[in-house]
Symmetry: C2
Subunit: 140 residues, 2 copies
């Protein structure tokens, strides 16, 4: 928790239990949760925390670059404490979202820059398919 406190302070943010809890949770999961999911996981430890606080905190963390926002095409956003741009794969069977090895795409941005007159500053790469468990289910 010390490091997380430091991260917040570095950015001039007040260190509050809610911020610590939300950032800590995101830094120790790889499930790319939604605001709703984060709220449900934390509300038992922080009974007074409201969903609005989760949203507001996520916005603050996003704006200071401590987390990134994903949208894989559902109704709601997901959040990720791994802030380097990296590709994701979504299971169309169970809805889970996982990281993909990013080494595959190292010169993709360069290619794009060559082929467009936009000033390119970011990217979001999403792949869709079926995870091993869901493939097995389909074969039964």
């Amino acid at each position: 928790m010390e490091e997380i406190t430091a991260l917040l302070k570095q950015r001039g943010l007040k260190v509050t239990p809610q911020r610590l809890a939300i950032l800590n949770f995101l830094m120790h999961t790889n499930e790319h949760p939604t605001a709703e999911t984060i709220y449900k996981k934390l509300v038992s430890d922080f009974p007074t925390m409201s969903l609005a606080t989760v949203y507001k905190t996520l916005e603050v963390l996003k704006n200071t670059g401590l987390i990134q926002e994903l949208n894989v095409g559902e109704g709601s956003f997901r959040y990720d404490a791994k802030t380097t741009p990296h590709p994701h794969i979504v299971c169309l069977g169970c809805g889970k979202v996982e990281d993909l090895d990013e080494s595959i795409f190292k010169d993709l941005l360069e290619e794009v820059k060559k082929h467009t007159d936009y000033k390119v500053v970011g990217q979001k790469l999403y792949f869709y398919g079926y995870c091993p468990a869901c493939q097995k289910k389909m074969n039964n």
Copy 2:
């Protein structure tokens, strides 16, 4: 309009003025409009059309593969009658969404398949930046 009628009939869909108008509009624009935008453009010609009809029609067209749904990270979905998977670039200045030359990515899906145990069936590639007009604005 003949071809559009045929497309709907091929899929066993009733040919209604609303469906013709919505699909025709999407097939002749490259602006990747939202449901709201489509509604606003068409309501003058179809004064009784409701936004709910636009949503329902878009869902039908999507489910039959006549259009695809995009989510570039705004609050709402955009729709595209070009149904082949192709990359998009979003202007962070003016919000416009354009197609990118897809030839750059021809073996991307193959690369992904090599590096994951998912059964990969689709992809969404979004790039973010500033269009030439917005770059010019920023320099003034």
